[in-house]
Subunit: 524 residues, 2 copies
């Protein structure tokens, strides 16, 4: 019996679910190839006909859910408490009002064309799902410069507090490491591990790796930056003396130096042109009236054949409304769920207990771009080893324009900053002082500061599942209760993935929830 | 006696030349600060009044010369043999005709929006002179991604010829180096060099540096890339086995791995949006009728009080014309000067003898951007260790668009390519094979190839002063005859700088020549 291709695919679909069918279609060349590493995702068109879905939260997980399910014919409603899409994907510009739950209000006064990504600020090239959506939605991307060799590392306790260029710290360290290893090899200390043949090759390699002299000594390298650049006529390059290894050990620059090699921080990194929120706005535009803004969820209830959501309807001035649906995808952050009356199972309620989100914050300033003109720093990050402010992040957008937004202070937790600076003014002073330390004379250039403390932002109340929770076994414990449905409620968000704190995790969790719903409908 | 500021500056100018006066003005805050590292340059306004200058060659050196001297009131004429400005700064697009001196003609058929930078393709952030001109001329710049951790390194003799991601080669190497050095330290092999205290700190550092386990063994790292990315639900990250050090030594990936740490290749690198030739075109537009295109120089003569240049006048259909001037800035490449009748001194004539330019080449193709979609490669360079083609350079412009131009083959010399491929078709086949080796199945995607061999390009006849000449003592020998004037002829070009092969060197040499002329006029 010869099957047509469609019959074959249908048969495979019956036996192995839509995932298997999709893989078969792909193998048969019926679909465009996905991005490498992309988790294939395609819902059969029309599968959602006559099925109602209510989606809670228009962050990336909620937006992806609505976008994919609408394509498959589901009748979707997406409730969003705020007047904008994106959730933590929030770009602050002149005119944005930043309100804290404690009543603090900041009105951003940035000039036109500059912005602060208060939440995510990077798209790694290795995360194909978000890049795929940008491609599909037509969101223009540009390079996010995650590391610049002209950026600085600084430690009050080393080199008299004087900042050092990243190129110097990185390459002098490598020079010393190479010299020390070549010494060990020549002394025979590694004869058990390294064959005689490899020994010679290893030494030849280390000479290049560390830019060592012919006698295997490290005496400095152009790679570490120069005291004077070469020029015309008789202007010769002048090398610097290398920083001694002992002093580099004192300086403890490692976290700043190694950041660029973390898998999700490696070049090439990308960002939407004009601000990260170009992504949620593109989703929202595609979804149109499906998204109900200014409509916070008041209750999450189960019914005999689905769910019932009570919410304040933004379109009716906040009047209480209800919506019933066959399924719910709930992407609200856990601190919000903890406060929302609900019918969750005892299992889910217990899982939520004791979970909290990191008190991540960012402080940003508008400033003339002195870092470009005077420091050759175009994007990238400078690192401070001590003190409350750990980094200064330079903008990758709008290079060579007059003004830009500098992030001086971005930490997972607020504790270090709060311990020395309680008021807003004190926090801004600490942030300004960090810039002054790396760029003397330029602390005074900083204007129009904005402090975003995610634990204080309504409808978020934190950054992401805390590192404390993760270290205490989140993924082997409570996580397992969020990645299975609670009756007809399916959870989504980066906390339902192993990619916490990244939009990629949120998008993948949404796809997975949809997949589970479609599979359940197919089985029914 | 109290001097006014202007009197003080004038007095310093008299005593120390315009450079000293300028430095004083700057110290007194009378001028905008230059880019850090920029060699200060300002000619007194009006100093060139009633002085005629003829400038030969509208490459970067000639353009900078005309641009600066016109500002200072000189009466400038810039003769250019070609119909376009830029010299080796040449961007090839659909419609560009590539003609070789041997008669070979290629007509570029690239689609709109894509281009090949046949000459320079990068602007390092550390070279402030060119960036300063881009700023001043309003040439929009964007990031040139010079390294991508998703790019590949490959060697037919290692790993069965299978390409390896740069992240894997870089981070596995670092892991092994760290493991070996920590072993040596723990065995006491370096007790003479490393104090007991530093020893502990060094081990703690190496654990982070190489991402070693608690027992100081390197067993692989997420940094080196993963077999499976983490995802939602139960999708866990899967690590790869590390590449063994012995195999990495076989592979000899070092030059590709270390390229990114060369001082003039380090992040952040930049490029003009739309092609490198946006720079010379911006200069030419600012200069207007000063530039005479299609006007090759026929003779370079000295007169009693200046110079006389014989040229074919483009505006008159190539009719022979002469121009007399007080001074000449000659930025023609040495292979062209060697063929041009002249009145150079015996000293300069001797200096030119035996000099030749490297036979640099590039091969480029238009192609769908499979490297982005399937490999997560956004800009950067992949490296091949053996064979005629040593690198594949991915475009940094137009990311996420449908088609781009891939450079497959860019070498300083043509010898390696010519030894296996004499015809154009054979060269293209070799170039295509390199792409096929790194990106199986995609060799066939390449279309509309262009081969630019600089030794074959009229009015250039080569890339830059050959490495052979440089190694044979160019800078301590002939160079010294080009950086001083030959009567009233001043030489300029990257060959009159210590930054050979870079636009920065050309620009600095031009400024230096102008400075010498102005100084001579002041002294006269």
């Amino acid at each position: 019996m010869r099957l047509t291709r469609r019959q074959l695919i249908t048969a495979i679909g019956r036996a192995g679910g839509y995932g298997a069918a999709f893989a078969t279609m792909q193998a048969m060349g019926l679909l465009a190839p996905p991005l490498r590493g992309e988790q294939t995702f395609e819902i059969p068109a029309g599968v959602g006909k006559n099925t109602k879905i209510v989606i809670l939260g228009a962050g990336i997980a909620g937006l992806v859910s609505a976008y994919e399910m609408r394509k498959a014919g589901f009748d979707c409603t997406l409730l969003e408490a705020r007047g904008r899409p994106g959730g933590r994907n929030w770009t602050i510009r002149g005119g944005t009002k930043v309100e804290f739950v404690d009543g603090t209000v900041q009105n951003c006064e940035f000039g036109s064309g500059v912005y602060m990504n208060a939440g995510p600020g990077r798209l790694p090239a290795i995360y194909p799902t978000m890049l795929g959506y940008c491609r599909g939605l037509g969101v223009p991307l540009e390079v996010e410069v995650n590391t610049s060799r002209s950026a600085l590392v600084q430690n009050d306790g080393a080199f008299g507090g004087k900042p050092v260029e990243l190129r110097e710290a990185v390459n002098d360290t490598r020079g010393h490491v190479s010299e020390l290893l070549s010494k060990s090899i020549r002394r025979g200390a590694l004869d058990g591990e390294v064959t005689a043949d490899d020994k010679e090759r290893m030494l030849a390699f280390l000479r290049q790796y560390g830019n060592l002299d012919f006698d295997f000594a490290y005496r400095g390298s152009e790679r570490a930056g120069v005291a004077q650049l070469p020029g015309a006529g008789d202007r010769l390059e002048q090398l610097r003396e290398p920083l001694p290894m002992h002093a580099l050990l004192d300086a403890d620059f490692w976290s700043g130096m190694l950041f660029e090699e973390e898998l999700d921080q490696q070049a090439t990194m990308l960002q939407p042109v004009g601000g990260m929120d170009r992504i949620p706005y593109a989703f929202a535009q595609a979804l149109g009236a499906i998204v109900k803004f200014n409509s916070p969820v008041k209750e999450i209830r189960k019914t005999a054949k689905g769910v019932r959501i009570v919410y304040a309807d933004g379109a009716s001035g906040g009047a209480t409304r209800e919506i019933e649906a066959d399924y719910c995808i709930c992407s609200l952050p856990i601190p919000i769920l903890q406060q929302t009356p609900n019918d969750f199972s005892a299992r889910v309620t217990a899982a939520m207990q004791g979970l909290h989100y990191d008190r991540a914050y960012k402080i940003a300033w508008e400033s003339p771009r002195f870092w470009e003109r005077e420091y050759h720093i175009y994007g990238g990050i400078s690192w401070l080893t001590r003190g409350p402010i750990g980094l200064i992040w330079y903008p990758s957008g709008g290079l060579f324009t007059e003004r830009g937004v500098l992030v001086s202070g971005y930490e997972f937790t607020s504790e270090r900053l709060n311990s020395v600076a309680s008021t807003l003014e004190e926090k801004f002073a600490a942030s300004r002082a960090a810039v002054e330390k790396l760029h003397p004379g330029h602390g005074r250039d900083l204007q129009k500061p904005i402090y975003v403390a995610w634990a204080q932002i309504p409808y978020s109340l934190g950054g992401w599942i805390s590192i404390a929770n993760l270290e205490a076994g989140y993924w082997s414990g409570p996580y397992n209760d969020f990645i299975v449905p609670d009756d007809r409620i399916y959870f989504a968000g980066d906390h339902c993935s192993h990619v916490v704190g990244w939009q990629e995790g949120a998008a993948l969790s949404a796809r997975r929830a949809i997949g589970m719903i479609v599979e359940r409908m197919r089985e029914a």
